[in-house]
Protein backbone atom coordinates (compact mmCIF):
# COMPACT_ATOMS: atom_id res chain seq x y z
CA UNK A 1 0.00 0.00 0.00
CA UNK A 2 1.69 3.16 -1.16
CA UNK A 3 0.80 6.46 0.46
CA UNK A 4 0.31 9.21 -2.08
CA UNK A 5 -0.51 12.86 -2.08
CA UNK A 6 -0.34 15.50 -4.80
CA UNK A 7 1.90 18.47 -5.41
CA UNK A 8 -0.96 20.69 -4.28
CA UNK A 9 -0.67 19.49 -0.69
CA UNK A 10 3.08 20.17 -0.64
CA UNK A 11 3.61 23.31 -2.69
CA UNK A 12 2.08 26.31 -4.40
CA UNK A 13 2.84 27.50 -7.91
CA UNK A 14 2.82 30.47 -10.28
CA UNK A 15 3.44 30.67 -14.02
CA UNK A 16 4.88 33.50 -16.09
CA UNK A 17 5.29 34.08 -19.83
CA UNK A 18 8.10 35.23 -22.10
CA UNK A 19 7.47 34.79 -25.81
CA UNK A 20 6.54 31.12 -26.35
CA UNK A 21 8.10 30.03 -23.04
CA UNK A 22 6.28 29.51 -19.77
CA UNK A 23 8.01 29.17 -16.42
CA UNK A 24 6.23 27.39 -13.63
CA UNK A 25 7.65 27.94 -10.16
CA UNK A 26 6.75 25.23 -7.66
CA UNK A 27 7.30 26.52 -4.14
CA UNK A 28 7.39 24.05 -1.27
CA UNK A 29 5.49 24.96 1.90
CA UNK A 30 8.21 23.46 4.07
CA UNK A 31 11.56 21.68 4.00
CA UNK A 32 10.30 18.05 4.14
CA UNK A 33 7.94 18.85 1.26
CA UNK A 34 10.83 20.29 -0.75
CA UNK A 35 12.92 17.17 -0.20
CA UNK A 36 10.11 15.00 -1.60
CA UNK A 37 9.48 17.30 -4.55
CA UNK A 38 13.16 17.62 -5.35
CA UNK A 39 13.37 13.85 -5.58
CA UNK A 40 10.12 13.11 -7.41
CA UNK A 41 8.99 16.20 -9.33
CA UNK A 42 11.49 15.89 -12.15
CA UNK A 43 11.49 17.81 -15.42
CA UNK A 44 10.41 14.58 -17.12
CA UNK A 45 7.32 14.25 -14.92
CA UNK A 46 6.29 17.84 -15.58
CA UNK A 47 6.87 17.36 -19.31
CA UNK A 48 4.77 14.20 -19.19
CA UNK A 49 1.94 15.97 -17.35
CA UNK A 50 1.92 18.81 -19.89
CA UNK A 51 2.35 16.61 -22.98
CA UNK A 52 0.37 18.03 -25.87
CA UNK A 53 0.42 21.51 -24.34
CA UNK A 54 4.18 22.04 -23.96
CA UNK A 55 5.85 21.15 -27.23
CA UNK A 56 9.49 21.88 -26.41
CA UNK A 57 12.00 21.05 -23.74
CA UNK A 58 11.29 21.35 -20.01
CA UNK A 59 14.27 22.39 -17.86
CA UNK A 60 14.30 22.42 -14.07
CA UNK A 61 16.19 24.88 -11.88
CA UNK A 62 16.31 23.81 -8.23
CA UNK A 63 16.95 26.54 -5.66
CA UNK A 64 17.56 24.57 -2.48
CA UNK A 65 17.98 27.61 -0.25
CA UNK A 66 14.50 28.88 -1.10
CA UNK A 67 12.76 25.53 -1.53
CA UNK A 68 11.76 26.31 -5.09
CA UNK A 69 11.76 24.25 -8.30
CA UNK A 70 11.47 26.43 -11.40
CA UNK A 71 10.33 24.63 -14.54
CA UNK A 72 11.09 26.44 -17.80
CA UNK A 73 8.86 25.07 -20.54
CA UNK A 74 9.73 25.90 -24.15
CA UNK A 75 7.03 25.91 -26.81
CA UNK A 76 4.37 26.19 -24.12
CA UNK A 77 2.14 28.97 -25.41
CA UNK A 78 0.93 27.83 -28.82
CA UNK A 79 3.59 29.75 -30.73
CA UNK A 80 3.76 32.78 -28.45
CA UNK A 81 1.37 35.03 -26.57
CA UNK A 82 0.43 37.22 -29.52
CA UNK A 83 -0.05 34.63 -32.27
CA UNK A 84 -1.46 31.83 -30.14
CA UNK A 85 -5.04 30.68 -30.77
CA UNK A 86 -5.31 29.38 -27.21
CA UNK A 87 -7.81 30.98 -24.87
CA UNK A 88 -5.17 31.08 -22.13
CA UNK A 89 -2.51 32.49 -24.42
CA UNK A 90 -0.39 33.75 -21.50
CA UNK A 91 -0.38 30.31 -19.87
CA UNK A 92 -1.60 31.86 -16.63
CA UNK A 93 -3.40 28.64 -15.71
CA UNK A 94 -0.46 26.32 -16.42
CA UNK A 95 0.76 26.66 -12.84
CA UNK A 96 -2.31 24.81 -11.63
CA UNK A 97 -1.82 21.99 -14.16
CA UNK A 98 1.14 20.61 -12.20
CA UNK A 99 -0.70 20.55 -8.86
CA UNK A 100 -2.48 17.18 -9.43
CA UNK A 101 0.79 15.33 -10.06
CA UNK A 102 1.03 12.43 -7.60
CA UNK A 103 3.83 12.32 -5.08
CA UNK A 104 4.62 9.21 -3.04
CA UNK A 105 4.73 9.85 0.71
CA UNK A 106 7.21 7.98 2.91
CA UNK A 107 5.49 6.16 5.79
CA UNK A 108 7.10 8.49 8.33
CA UNK A 109 6.09 11.75 6.60
CA UNK A 110 4.33 14.08 9.04
CA UNK A 111 0.87 14.51 7.49
CA UNK A 112 0.36 17.65 9.58
CA UNK A 113 2.64 19.31 7.04
CA UNK A 114 0.21 18.66 4.16
CA UNK A 115 -2.05 21.50 3.03
CA UNK A 116 -5.70 21.30 2.14
CA UNK A 117 -8.21 18.58 2.96
CA UNK A 118 -6.90 15.50 4.77
CA UNK A 119 -5.57 13.20 2.06
CA UNK A 120 -7.12 9.80 1.53
CA UNK A 121 -4.64 7.00 1.14
CA UNK A 122 -5.05 4.17 -1.30
Amino acid sequence: MAHHTTVRALAHSRSGDKGDTSNIAVIAYNRPAYVLLHEQLTAARVADRLAGVVEGEVRRYAVDGLGVLNFVCEGALGGGVSRSLRLDNYGKTLASAVLPIEIALPADFDTELLRGPTPTFD
Binding site: H12, G19, R49, V63, G65, L94
Partner: protein, 449 residues
Protein backbone atom coordinates in the same frame (compact mmCIF):
# COMPACT_ATOMS: atom_id res chain seq x y z
CA UNK B 1 15.60 54.90 4.02
CA UNK B 2 13.77 55.26 0.74
CA UNK B 3 10.05 54.52 0.32
CA UNK B 4 8.97 53.36 -3.14
CA UNK B 5 5.43 52.35 -4.06
CA UNK B 6 3.85 50.74 -7.12
CA UNK B 7 1.14 52.67 -8.95
CA UNK B 8 0.33 50.04 -11.57
CA UNK B 9 1.55 46.59 -12.55
CA UNK B 10 0.16 46.70 -16.08
CA UNK B 11 -1.83 48.89 -18.43
CA UNK B 12 -5.22 47.59 -17.31
CA UNK B 13 -4.46 47.72 -13.61
CA UNK B 14 -6.87 49.25 -11.09
CA UNK B 15 -6.48 52.94 -10.33
CA UNK B 16 -8.00 53.27 -6.85
CA UNK B 17 -5.19 51.30 -5.13
CA UNK B 18 -2.72 53.70 -6.78
CA UNK B 19 -4.53 56.65 -5.21
CA UNK B 20 -4.56 54.76 -1.90
CA UNK B 21 -0.81 54.09 -1.87
CA UNK B 22 -0.09 57.66 -3.01
CA UNK B 23 -2.23 59.04 -0.19
CA UNK B 24 -1.23 56.76 2.67
CA UNK B 25 2.08 55.20 1.64
CA UNK B 26 4.26 58.17 2.68
CA UNK B 27 6.18 57.64 -0.55
CA UNK B 28 9.36 59.19 -1.85
CA UNK B 29 8.67 57.66 -5.26
CA UNK B 30 5.63 56.20 -7.00
CA UNK B 31 6.39 54.04 -10.04
CA UNK B 32 4.00 52.95 -12.80
CA UNK B 33 4.57 49.92 -15.04
CA UNK B 34 2.13 49.85 -17.98
CA UNK B 35 3.82 48.03 -20.86
CA UNK B 36 3.54 44.42 -22.01
CA UNK B 37 5.65 42.76 -24.72
CA UNK B 38 3.15 43.71 -27.43
CA UNK B 39 2.37 47.24 -26.19
CA UNK B 40 4.72 49.07 -28.55
CA UNK B 41 3.80 47.19 -31.72
CA UNK B 42 0.08 47.39 -30.97
CA UNK B 43 0.41 51.11 -30.33
CA UNK B 44 2.29 51.63 -33.60
CA UNK B 45 -0.41 49.85 -35.58
CA UNK B 46 -3.17 51.79 -33.81
CA UNK B 47 -1.38 55.07 -34.38
CA UNK B 48 -1.41 54.48 -38.13
CA UNK B 49 -5.16 54.32 -38.36
CA UNK B 50 -6.30 56.36 -35.34
CA UNK B 51 -4.96 59.93 -35.47
CA UNK B 52 -6.59 60.71 -32.11
CA UNK B 53 -4.49 58.11 -30.31
CA UNK B 54 -1.62 59.82 -28.50
CA UNK B 55 0.73 56.85 -28.57
CA UNK B 56 0.97 56.63 -24.77
CA UNK B 57 -0.96 54.98 -21.92
CA UNK B 58 -4.66 55.43 -22.64
CA UNK B 59 -5.26 55.82 -18.87
CA UNK B 60 -2.47 58.36 -18.37
CA UNK B 61 -4.76 61.25 -17.45
CA UNK B 62 -6.92 59.08 -15.15
CA UNK B 63 -3.87 57.75 -13.33
CA UNK B 64 -2.26 61.17 -12.85
CA UNK B 65 -5.49 62.82 -11.75
CA UNK B 66 -5.95 60.09 -9.14
CA UNK B 67 -2.49 60.32 -7.59
CA UNK B 68 -1.28 63.87 -8.20
CA UNK B 69 -3.09 65.60 -5.30
CA UNK B 70 -1.36 63.19 -2.89
CA UNK B 71 2.01 63.24 -4.65
CA UNK B 72 2.08 67.04 -4.75
CA UNK B 73 1.18 67.28 -1.06
CA UNK B 74 3.83 64.75 0.00
CA UNK B 75 6.45 65.64 -2.63
CA UNK B 76 6.38 62.13 -4.07
CA UNK B 77 8.30 61.90 -7.34
CA UNK B 78 6.94 59.75 -10.15
CA UNK B 79 8.72 57.36 -12.52
CA UNK B 80 6.57 55.80 -15.23
CA UNK B 81 6.83 53.93 -18.54
CA UNK B 82 3.50 55.29 -19.74
CA UNK B 83 5.23 56.93 -22.71
CA UNK B 84 4.89 53.79 -24.90
CA UNK B 85 5.74 54.98 -28.45
CA UNK B 86 5.50 58.69 -27.66
CA UNK B 87 7.22 59.57 -24.37
CA UNK B 88 7.44 63.23 -25.37
CA UNK B 89 3.69 63.38 -26.02
CA UNK B 90 3.12 61.68 -22.69
CA UNK B 91 5.36 64.24 -20.99
CA UNK B 92 3.27 67.05 -22.51
CA UNK B 93 0.09 65.38 -21.28
CA UNK B 94 1.61 65.02 -17.81
CA UNK B 95 2.68 68.67 -17.93
CA UNK B 96 -0.95 69.62 -18.57
CA UNK B 97 -2.15 67.52 -15.63
CA UNK B 98 0.52 69.02 -13.33
CA UNK B 99 -0.49 72.54 -14.36
CA UNK B 100 -4.16 71.67 -13.83
CA UNK B 101 -3.28 70.56 -10.29
CA UNK B 102 -1.29 73.75 -9.68
CA UNK B 103 2.16 72.12 -9.71
CA UNK B 104 3.67 74.61 -12.16
CA UNK B 105 7.10 74.27 -10.54
CA UNK B 106 7.25 70.48 -11.02
CA UNK B 107 9.65 69.36 -13.70
CA UNK B 108 8.75 66.65 -16.22
CA UNK B 109 11.33 64.77 -18.26
CA UNK B 110 10.86 62.32 -21.11
CA UNK B 111 13.40 59.58 -21.85
CA UNK B 112 13.46 59.03 -25.61
CA UNK B 113 15.54 57.11 -28.11
CA UNK B 114 14.58 53.47 -27.48
CA UNK B 115 13.05 52.96 -30.89
CA UNK B 116 15.27 51.37 -33.56
CA UNK B 117 12.64 50.29 -36.11
CA UNK B 118 14.43 51.91 -39.05
CA UNK B 119 17.78 50.37 -38.17
CA UNK B 120 16.88 46.94 -36.84
CA UNK B 121 17.76 45.13 -40.07
CA UNK B 122 21.38 46.24 -39.66
CA UNK B 123 21.62 45.97 -35.86
CA UNK B 124 19.90 42.69 -35.09
CA UNK B 125 21.64 39.51 -34.06
CA UNK B 126 19.85 36.16 -34.35
CA UNK B 127 16.20 35.94 -33.29
CA UNK B 128 16.33 34.61 -29.73
CA UNK B 129 13.21 32.46 -30.09
CA UNK B 130 14.37 30.65 -33.25
CA UNK B 131 18.12 31.20 -33.56
CA UNK B 132 17.52 32.28 -37.18
CA UNK B 133 18.31 35.55 -38.93
CA UNK B 134 15.95 38.52 -38.72
CA UNK B 135 15.33 38.02 -42.46
CA UNK B 136 13.27 34.93 -41.59
CA UNK B 137 10.54 37.06 -39.99
CA UNK B 138 7.73 36.73 -42.51
CA UNK B 139 5.44 39.62 -41.61
CA UNK B 140 6.17 43.30 -42.02
CA UNK B 141 8.19 44.65 -39.10
CA UNK B 142 6.16 47.47 -37.53
CA UNK B 143 8.33 48.25 -34.52
CA UNK B 144 11.60 47.48 -32.83
CA UNK B 145 12.64 49.00 -29.56
CA UNK B 146 15.45 48.46 -27.12
CA UNK B 147 14.91 47.91 -23.41
CA UNK B 148 16.74 50.74 -21.66
CA UNK B 149 17.98 50.35 -18.11
CA UNK B 150 17.84 52.69 -15.14
CA UNK B 151 20.67 55.03 -16.14
CA UNK B 152 18.71 57.50 -18.31
CA UNK B 153 16.06 57.76 -15.57
CA UNK B 154 18.80 58.41 -13.00
CA UNK B 155 20.20 61.13 -15.27
CA UNK B 156 16.77 62.75 -15.51
CA UNK B 157 16.33 62.67 -11.73
CA UNK B 158 19.82 64.10 -11.26
CA UNK B 159 18.86 66.94 -13.62
CA UNK B 160 15.98 67.80 -11.31
CA UNK B 161 13.00 65.93 -12.75
CA UNK B 162 10.04 65.36 -10.46
CA UNK B 163 8.31 63.14 -13.02
CA UNK B 164 10.21 60.91 -15.47
CA UNK B 165 8.26 59.27 -18.28
CA UNK B 166 9.82 56.67 -20.55
CA UNK B 167 8.98 54.38 -23.41
CA UNK B 168 10.42 50.88 -23.27
CA UNK B 169 12.64 50.23 -20.27
CA UNK B 170 13.16 47.02 -18.36
CA UNK B 171 10.44 46.92 -15.71
CA UNK B 172 12.75 46.62 -12.65
CA UNK B 173 14.69 49.67 -13.87
CA UNK B 174 11.71 51.92 -13.07
CA UNK B 175 12.22 51.06 -9.40
CA UNK B 176 16.00 50.66 -9.45
CA UNK B 177 16.52 54.19 -10.78
CA UNK B 178 15.29 56.00 -7.64
CA UNK B 179 17.51 53.74 -5.53
CA UNK B 180 20.59 54.49 -7.66
CA UNK B 181 19.81 58.20 -7.59
CA UNK B 182 19.19 58.34 -3.84
CA UNK B 183 22.01 56.11 -2.67
CA UNK B 184 24.56 57.05 -5.33
CA UNK B 185 25.11 53.53 -6.62
CA UNK B 186 27.24 53.28 -9.73
CA UNK B 187 27.55 50.71 -12.49
CA UNK B 188 30.33 49.04 -10.51
CA UNK B 189 28.11 48.33 -7.48
CA UNK B 190 26.88 45.07 -8.98
CA UNK B 191 25.80 43.49 -5.69
CA UNK B 192 23.68 46.52 -4.75
CA UNK B 193 22.32 46.83 -8.28
CA UNK B 194 21.36 43.15 -8.17
CA UNK B 195 19.60 43.57 -4.84
CA UNK B 196 17.88 46.75 -6.01
CA UNK B 197 16.77 45.30 -9.34
CA UNK B 198 15.52 42.25 -7.44
CA UNK B 199 13.37 44.47 -5.24
CA UNK B 200 12.22 46.25 -8.40
CA UNK B 201 11.19 42.88 -9.86
CA UNK B 202 9.14 42.19 -6.71
CA UNK B 203 7.38 45.57 -7.06
CA UNK B 204 6.87 45.73 -10.83
CA UNK B 205 3.64 43.71 -10.98
CA UNK B 206 1.85 45.62 -8.24
CA UNK B 207 -0.59 43.43 -6.33
CA UNK B 208 1.08 40.24 -7.56
CA UNK B 209 3.24 40.51 -4.41
CA UNK B 210 0.37 41.47 -2.08
CA UNK B 211 -2.02 38.60 -2.72
CA UNK B 212 -3.01 39.09 -6.35
CA UNK B 213 -2.65 36.23 -8.86
CA UNK B 214 -2.28 34.06 -5.75
CA UNK B 215 -5.46 32.88 -4.04
CA UNK B 216 -6.39 29.19 -4.10
CA UNK B 217 -9.43 28.82 -1.82
CA UNK B 218 -8.81 26.44 1.04
CA UNK B 219 -5.08 26.38 0.31
CA UNK B 220 -3.98 29.99 -0.04
CA UNK B 221 -6.58 32.44 1.22
CA UNK B 222 -6.07 36.18 1.76
CA UNK B 223 -8.21 38.76 3.57
CA UNK B 224 -10.49 40.94 1.42
CA UNK B 225 -9.28 39.83 -2.02
CA UNK B 226 -11.48 42.57 -3.51
CA UNK B 227 -9.42 45.28 -1.79
CA UNK B 228 -5.78 44.39 -2.49
CA UNK B 229 -3.29 47.08 -1.58
CA UNK B 230 -0.35 47.93 -3.85
CA UNK B 231 3.12 47.27 -2.44
CA UNK B 232 5.52 49.65 -0.73
CA UNK B 233 9.24 48.94 -0.34
CA UNK B 234 11.25 50.53 2.46
CA UNK B 235 14.67 50.36 0.84
CA UNK B 236 17.88 50.49 2.85
CA UNK B 237 21.15 51.95 1.54
CA UNK B 238 22.46 48.56 0.40
CA UNK B 239 19.24 47.67 -1.43
CA UNK B 240 17.79 45.32 1.17
CA UNK B 241 14.16 46.24 1.67
CA UNK B 242 11.09 45.64 3.76
CA UNK B 243 8.09 44.95 1.55
CA UNK B 244 4.79 46.07 2.98
CA UNK B 245 1.47 47.66 2.04
CA UNK B 246 -0.87 50.34 3.32
CA UNK B 247 -2.63 49.36 6.55
CA UNK B 248 -6.29 48.56 6.14
CA UNK B 249 -6.01 47.14 2.63
CA UNK B 250 -6.78 43.54 1.76
CA UNK B 251 -4.37 40.86 0.63
CA UNK B 252 -1.20 39.69 2.31
CA UNK B 253 2.56 40.00 2.03
CA UNK B 254 4.38 36.95 3.30
CA UNK B 255 7.05 34.47 2.27
CA UNK B 256 4.65 32.80 -0.16
CA UNK B 257 3.64 35.91 -2.07
CA UNK B 258 7.23 37.16 -2.22
CA UNK B 259 8.51 33.83 -3.56
CA UNK B 260 5.77 33.55 -6.18
CA UNK B 261 6.60 37.00 -7.50
CA UNK B 262 10.36 36.47 -7.23
CA UNK B 263 10.13 33.65 -9.78
CA UNK B 264 7.50 35.27 -12.00
CA UNK B 265 8.77 35.29 -15.59
CA UNK B 266 12.22 34.22 -14.38
CA UNK B 267 14.09 31.42 -16.14
CA UNK B 268 17.55 30.77 -14.63
CA UNK B 269 17.17 32.30 -11.13
CA UNK B 270 20.94 32.76 -10.87
CA UNK B 271 21.05 34.78 -14.10
CA UNK B 272 18.06 37.07 -14.51
CA UNK B 273 19.34 39.45 -17.15
CA UNK B 274 18.37 43.12 -16.95
CA UNK B 275 20.03 46.04 -18.79
CA UNK B 276 21.65 47.21 -15.53
CA UNK B 277 22.80 44.00 -13.89
CA UNK B 278 22.45 40.23 -14.06
CA UNK B 279 20.42 39.39 -10.96
CA UNK B 280 21.04 36.31 -8.82
CA UNK B 281 18.04 35.44 -6.64
CA UNK B 282 19.37 32.12 -5.36
CA UNK B 283 20.89 33.47 -2.14
CA UNK B 284 17.87 35.59 -1.21
CA UNK B 285 16.82 35.80 2.40
CA UNK B 286 13.09 36.30 3.01
CA UNK B 287 12.36 37.23 6.58
CA UNK B 288 8.85 37.93 7.90
CA UNK B 289 9.27 40.64 10.55
CA UNK B 290 5.66 41.57 11.25
CA UNK B 291 2.15 41.58 9.86
CA UNK B 292 2.46 42.15 6.10
CA UNK B 293 6.10 43.09 6.56
CA UNK B 294 8.79 40.96 4.89
CA UNK B 295 12.45 41.88 4.73
CA UNK B 296 14.21 40.75 1.55
CA UNK B 297 17.99 40.73 1.39
CA UNK B 298 20.78 38.59 -0.04
CA UNK B 299 19.86 39.08 -3.69
CA UNK B 300 23.01 39.88 -5.59
CA UNK B 301 24.24 40.51 -9.10
CA UNK B 302 27.00 40.25 -11.65
CA UNK B 303 28.03 42.83 -14.26
CA UNK B 304 25.61 43.76 -17.02
CA UNK B 305 26.01 42.26 -20.48
CA UNK B 306 27.32 44.17 -23.52
CA UNK B 307 23.98 43.87 -25.29
CA UNK B 308 20.47 45.22 -24.96
CA UNK B 309 17.35 43.21 -25.69
CA UNK B 310 15.22 44.49 -28.53
CA UNK B 311 11.59 43.56 -28.96
CA UNK B 312 10.44 43.33 -32.58
CA UNK B 313 6.79 43.46 -33.62
CA UNK B 314 5.75 42.03 -36.99
CA UNK B 315 2.37 41.93 -38.69
CA UNK B 316 1.39 38.29 -38.91
CA UNK B 317 -2.16 38.43 -40.20
CA UNK B 318 -5.46 38.22 -38.38
CA UNK B 319 -7.27 35.99 -35.90
CA UNK B 320 -10.99 35.33 -36.36
CA UNK B 321 -12.80 34.01 -33.31
CA UNK B 322 -16.34 33.24 -32.11
CA UNK B 323 -18.24 31.14 -29.61
CA UNK B 324 -21.63 29.47 -29.11
CA UNK B 325 -23.18 27.17 -26.51
CA UNK B 326 -25.05 23.97 -25.71
CA UNK B 327 -26.61 22.86 -22.42
CA UNK B 328 -28.72 19.99 -21.20
CA UNK B 329 -28.77 16.34 -22.32
CA UNK B 330 -26.52 15.64 -25.30
CA UNK B 331 -24.62 18.91 -25.03
CA UNK B 332 -21.24 17.33 -25.74
CA UNK B 333 -22.56 15.29 -28.69
CA UNK B 334 -24.00 18.49 -30.15
CA UNK B 335 -20.69 20.29 -29.67
CA UNK B 336 -18.87 17.51 -31.54
CA UNK B 337 -21.36 17.56 -34.41
CA UNK B 338 -21.19 21.36 -34.53
CA UNK B 339 -17.42 21.11 -34.99
CA UNK B 340 -17.97 18.67 -37.88
CA UNK B 341 -20.50 21.02 -39.49
CA UNK B 342 -18.16 24.00 -39.25
CA UNK B 343 -15.21 22.06 -40.65
CA UNK B 344 -17.38 21.10 -43.64
CA UNK B 345 -18.54 24.69 -44.01
CA UNK B 346 -14.96 26.00 -43.90
CA UNK B 347 -14.20 23.66 -46.82
CA UNK B 348 -17.24 24.98 -48.71
CA UNK B 349 -16.12 28.61 -48.27
CA UNK B 350 -12.49 27.63 -48.95
CA UNK B 351 -11.14 28.99 -45.67
CA UNK B 352 -7.39 29.52 -45.90
CA UNK B 353 -6.04 29.34 -42.34
CA UNK B 354 -2.49 28.96 -41.08
CA UNK B 355 -3.95 27.51 -37.88
CA UNK B 356 -7.50 26.45 -36.93
CA UNK B 357 -8.59 25.47 -33.46
CA UNK B 358 -11.77 24.22 -31.75
CA UNK B 359 -12.15 24.30 -27.99
CA UNK B 360 -14.98 22.90 -25.89
CA UNK B 361 -15.34 25.11 -22.83
CA UNK B 362 -16.14 23.01 -19.80
CA UNK B 363 -14.35 20.03 -21.32
CA UNK B 364 -10.79 20.76 -22.48
CA UNK B 365 -10.57 24.38 -23.64
CA UNK B 366 -7.78 25.52 -21.34
CA UNK B 367 -5.36 22.63 -20.78
CA UNK B 368 -6.15 20.83 -24.04
CA UNK B 369 -4.43 17.46 -24.31
CA UNK B 370 -3.37 17.65 -20.65
CA UNK B 371 -7.00 17.61 -19.47
CA UNK B 372 -8.08 14.43 -17.65
CA UNK B 373 -11.01 12.47 -19.10
CA UNK B 374 -14.21 13.87 -17.55
CA UNK B 375 -15.83 11.61 -14.97
CA UNK B 376 -19.32 12.54 -16.16
CA UNK B 377 -20.99 14.06 -19.20
CA UNK B 378 -20.75 17.87 -18.87
CA UNK B 379 -24.14 19.58 -18.48
CA UNK B 380 -23.06 22.54 -20.61
CA UNK B 381 -20.43 23.07 -23.28
CA UNK B 382 -19.20 26.21 -25.01
CA UNK B 383 -17.84 25.78 -28.53
CA UNK B 384 -15.11 28.25 -29.36
CA UNK B 385 -13.51 28.35 -32.78
CA UNK B 386 -10.50 30.42 -33.80
CA UNK B 387 -8.29 30.65 -36.89
CA UNK B 388 -5.23 32.63 -37.86
CA UNK B 389 -5.34 33.84 -41.47
CA UNK B 390 -3.33 36.08 -43.76
CA UNK B 391 -6.08 38.60 -44.41
CA UNK B 392 -8.89 40.23 -42.46
CA UNK B 393 -11.45 38.98 -45.01
CA UNK B 394 -10.32 35.40 -44.57
CA UNK B 395 -10.44 35.63 -40.75
CA UNK B 396 -13.93 37.12 -40.96
CA UNK B 397 -15.15 33.80 -42.37
CA UNK B 398 -15.00 32.31 -38.85
CA UNK B 399 -17.65 34.62 -37.48
CA UNK B 400 -19.72 34.45 -40.67
CA UNK B 401 -19.89 30.66 -40.55
CA UNK B 402 -20.72 30.70 -36.83
CA UNK B 403 -23.55 33.09 -37.73
CA UNK B 404 -24.91 30.28 -39.89
CA UNK B 405 -25.25 28.10 -36.79
CA UNK B 406 -28.15 30.30 -35.62
CA UNK B 407 -30.96 29.19 -37.89
CA UNK B 408 -29.11 26.45 -39.79
CA UNK B 409 -27.42 24.77 -36.84
CA UNK B 410 -28.44 22.11 -34.33
CA UNK B 411 -31.39 22.15 -31.93
CA UNK B 412 -30.96 24.46 -28.96
CA UNK B 413 -27.83 26.18 -30.25
CA UNK B 414 -27.06 29.15 -28.02
CA UNK B 415 -25.97 31.74 -30.57
CA UNK B 416 -25.61 35.42 -29.85
CA UNK B 417 -25.94 38.33 -32.21
CA UNK B 418 -22.33 39.51 -32.70
CA UNK B 419 -21.65 42.29 -30.21
CA UNK B 420 -17.98 42.85 -30.91
CA UNK B 421 -15.46 42.72 -33.71
CA UNK B 422 -14.64 39.05 -34.17
CA UNK B 423 -11.38 39.72 -36.02
CA UNK B 424 -8.22 41.08 -34.47
CA UNK B 425 -4.83 41.87 -35.92
CA UNK B 426 -1.89 39.68 -34.93
CA UNK B 427 1.38 41.36 -34.04
CA UNK B 428 3.96 38.67 -33.53
CA UNK B 429 6.71 39.52 -31.05
CA UNK B 430 10.30 38.43 -31.58
CA UNK B 431 13.41 39.27 -29.58
CA UNK B 432 17.01 39.89 -30.46
CA UNK B 433 20.12 41.43 -28.91
CA UNK B 434 21.95 44.49 -30.18
CA UNK B 435 25.19 46.17 -29.21
CA UNK B 436 24.46 48.36 -26.19
CA UNK B 437 26.34 51.25 -27.76
CA UNK B 438 24.05 51.31 -30.81
CA UNK B 439 21.33 53.23 -28.98
CA UNK B 440 21.73 56.44 -27.02
CA UNK B 441 18.90 57.62 -24.78
CA UNK B 442 18.10 61.31 -24.69
CA UNK B 443 16.32 63.34 -22.01
CA UNK B 444 13.91 66.12 -22.85
CA UNK B 445 12.31 68.40 -20.25
CA UNK B 446 8.83 69.80 -20.93
CA UNK B 447 8.40 73.16 -19.23
CA UNK B 448 5.24 74.85 -18.08
CA UNK B 449 4.01 77.36 -20.67
Amino acid sequence: MLRIGTGSGWWGDRISPAAQVAEKGDLDYLCFETMAEATVSTAQVRRRRDPDFGGYDTYLEDRFDAVLPHCIRRGTKIVTNQGWVNPLGAARAIRARLDAHGAHDWKVAAVIGAEVTDRIGRLAGPILETGASIDTIEGDIVSAEAYFGAEPIVAALAAGADVVVTGRVADPALFLAPMMHTFGWTRADTARLGQGAGIGHLLECGAQVTGGYFVDPGYKDVPEPWNLGFPVAEVEADGAAVLTKVAGTGGVIDRRTVLEQMFYEVHDPARYITPDVVVDFTGASIEPIGLDRVRVSGITGSPRTDTLKVSIGAQEGFIGEDMFFYAGPGALDKARLAERILRERFAVVDLKAADLRFDFLGVNAIHGAATPEPAAEPYEVGVRVAARCATRAEAAKIGREVDGMAVSGLGSTGKRVPYADRVREVIGIWSTLIDREAVAPDIVFVDSE
